[in-house]
């Protein structure tokens, strides 16, 4: 049990001299990235092999969270004392074992890779991800964990915390960008003996995995921040609302809560200050709208996740009608660092209006798929080309999609824009939770808009008409266009309808659902026009608008006819073959099979 700030300090010194020694760099460390992506790529076998290998070498093998270089999984990082980190990427257990052993013994190092994360990143929210073992509270305490809570409870007082949070300028990282300090102040001022603190871990944006990575890589920092928030607003109970699709994050959270409770860092009379706080976990059940905070409250009450009318705001009347403060995972992860290092330090990172950093999940058509954390104001070009390493296969950049289904597609002309809440909003996209999907010349923007509408249409809760019916109509029009039956009039209708839905929907889902349509219509109007006027899909994606044809170059080898699943290719041996368009299903099997030096099959 840790029952005072002094005892926390003593505990820290004890673990630093013992099992958590590696965090201070006093021995060689081998990290194995064991978040969901790492495990899916085979990291468990790699970990076991390395653990067996280093016995007796005085080296520690640490299973850690997301290191951020997702493209390189399974990923091993080797930190030799006094040397920069090197990596072993994509290796099976046996290869990893050999390479690591050789490098540790000072042998051949040509098989290890240098750090490619670059110097553009600043890790605040992710400060412990990839650095400690997330299943051990000792490791978290060794890097200064729970010291912010101790400082808050023993030195700062409730008002002190809120004023420091307001001064820091931290804004909600879930996407809306509301001031965290103000939110806490509203919660603190609300009357009531019972209040709740909630962590929104319902990361529903497709292509976003920041929150999952934080919970899998550093769960204690979120727990600690929730305790700080609870103290500031006067709550004694906290709830994690987390997606059921994230089983590993749930497991790590359960472990973290049990450990913190055992040490007395959660529970009654924390650190002898009389402050009580308990935490529980509630699983979502697969509804995107539950990321909206009032829908989330209904879901926590066991109801359909339909949003509530506001006001009253949750800070006044939230869960079970009690004052409730709800922040997102990444927002919480910033807080212990802000408390320990101060608001001025936090403000020195990022921009005037948006201090601090933002974590982005960089994915899609990009070389270095990964989790990146950059100061607010970093340009899209720096993110895509310097950190992300550009696009694979020499393809041309077409757009970057930010903000998930609520966001927009940003074309190349805006690559030099610094990223923050306002700049993204000004060009019709949004920060959202931080997904960034890169698209290349092969992606049809009309089809992408349809993909997102397909998502929001299904995820609309159905409570308000503009969202329920409007988005379905938008989807139908987009379908008509990608099927080749669209007209220019449809484009006008798309725009009108999209604007109506935006301005009349009840909650954030409906207000933002038409963004992908509006932004693609604005920036990629020529693609829409090609679909409706010329009945052509310039990126060769929409199946009804393309034809596979065999040109005069055909040598009649017949390979294409053999792979065609519907037998619609015919021709005499050594003579020109042809495709029966009425039967072709446009599966594309034939094209890569045509010998490359012949290249007779083309898409039109």
């Amino acid at each position: 049990m840790i029952s005072s700030g002094a005892e926390l300090n003593a505990y820290k010194n004890k673990v630093l001299a013992g099992g958590s020694k590696y965090v201070s760099g006093e021995c060689d460390v081998v990290y194995v990235g064991m978040a969901t992506c790492g495990i899916a790529a085979g990291a468990e076998a790699v970990f076991d092999a390395l653990n067996a290998e280093v016995q007796g070498r005085g080296v520690v093998v640490v299973p850690t969270g997301c290191i951020g270089m997702c493209y390189a999984e399974p990923l091993v990082e080797i930190k030799k004392q006094g040397k920069p980190s090197v990596f072993v990427s994509g290796a099976d257990a046996e290869t990893a074992r050999k390479v690591v052993a050789e490098y540790l013994d000072g042998g051949d190092s040509s098989a290890v890779l240098p750090d490619t994360r670059g110097d553009k990143q600043t890790r605040i929210a992710l400060r412990n991800c990839g650095v400690i073992d997330p299943t051990k509270i000792d490791d978290y305490i060794a890097v200064g964990g729970y010291e912010a809570l101790a400082k808050v409870l023993t030195e700062m007082g409730r008002e002190g915390v809120i004023s420091e949070m307001k001064k820091s300028g931290l804004r909600g990282r879930g996407g809306a960008g509301f001031s965290t300090g103000l939110k806490w102040e509203f919660g603190a001022k609300s009357e009531g003996a019972k209040k709740y603190i909630i962590c929104n871990a319902d990361e529903g944006d497709p292509g976003a995995f920041m929150d999952r990575s934080i919970l899998e890589g550093d769960p204690h920092s979120v727990l600690e921040a929730m305790a700080i928030a609870a103290f500031a607003v006067g709550a004694d109970e906290g709830i994690f609302y987390i997606r059921a699709e994230y089983p590993l994050a749930v497991k790590r959270l359960e472990t973290a809560i049990a450990q913190a409770t055992e040490l007395g860092l959660l529970g009654d009379n924390i650190m002898g200050t009389g402050f009580d706080f308990k935490l529980s976990i509630s699983l979502g059940a697969g509804a995107f709208v539950c990321g909206e905070e009032t829908a989330l409250l209904n879901s926590l009450e066991g109801k359909r996740g339909e949003p509530r009318l506001r006001p009253p705001f949750p800070a006044q009347k939230g869960l079970w009608d009690k004052p409730t403060v709800n922040n997102n995972v990444e927002t919480y992860a910033n807080i212990p660092a802000i408390i320990l290092r101060g608001a001025d330090w936090f403000r020195s990172v990022g921009t005037e209006k948006c201090p601090g950093t933002k974590v982005f999940a960089l994915a899609g058509k990009i070389n270095n798929v990964g989790l990146v954390e950059v100061p607010m104001g970093t340009t899209l070009r720096e993110i895509v080309y310097e950190i992300g390493g550009g696009l694979p296969d020499g393809k041309a950049f077409k757009a970057i999609q930010t903000g998930g289904p609520s966001g927009g597609c940003i074309p190349a002309q805006h690559l030099d824009m610094g990223v923050d809440y306002e700049s993204l909003g000004s060009i019709g996209s949004m920060m959202g939770s931080g997904g960034m999907i890169v698209m290349d010349e092969d992606d049809c923007m009309v089809n992408i808009a349809k993909f997102y509408l397909d998502f929001t249409m299904e995820e609309s809760c159905g409570k308000c008409t503009p969202c329920r019916i409007g988005n379905t109509r938008l989807h139908e029009i987009l379908e008509k266009i990608t099927d080749g039956n669209g007209t220019e009039d449809d484009l006008t209708q798309l725009k009108d309808l999209a604007q109506t839905i935006k301005s009349t929907s009840l909650c954030g889902l409906g207000n933002s659902a038409p963004n992908p349509v509006l932004s693609t219509l604005h920036f990629f109007a020529d693609e829409y026009l090609a679909h409706v006027n010329e009945k052509k899909c310039p990126s060769h994606t929409c199946k009804n608008l393309i034809r596979y044809i065999i040109t005069e170059k055909c040598i009649g080898c017949g390979i294409c006819a053999k792979v065609c699943p519907v037998n619609c290719i015919s021709g005499e041996p050594k003579k020109l073959h042809s495709i029966d368009q009425s039967r072709c299903i446009k599966c594309g099997e034939c094209l890569p099979k045509c010998p490359s030096k012949v290249g007779a099959i083309v898409i039109e």
Partner: protein, 160 residues
Amino acid sequence: MENEKAYALLDEFIDGLQVKQGALISVLHKAQEIFGYLPQEVQDYVAEKLGVAASKVYGVVTFYSFFTMQKKGKFRVNVCMGTACFVKGAENILEEFNRQLGTETGEVSQDGLFSVDALRCIGACGLAPMITVNGKYYGRISKADVAGIIEEVKGATAND
């Protein structure tokens, strides 16, 4: 007998709850874990046990995509349809599974072995396109891998 055991497990869970208020979703999670799906009979039982209207239970079950009223296959193929997977061809992979198994998305194959579903983003975008079969991940796959995965899964049971 099987069924009685299942209901006993569910009873044990519900009776062990400290607070029943607001517990409907966690009870349904448990029920689906036990029964594999949530047919009307199970929903009625939960309603009665928790003292809420059956219509409310049905409303919740149909609202959340995680809950299903349809029995699933022995092997549940989930194709991730997050954006990263989508731009890397997840649609084609979903189509290929359906073509080879003779299913439609959301349905069970005739032999009852496989069900194919489109899944919301699982957040493993570094391995896109990605699928899971009964919780096991297969990352960076292409259409050409589909037949192999089906065989692998079937083969694993043959050895049971």
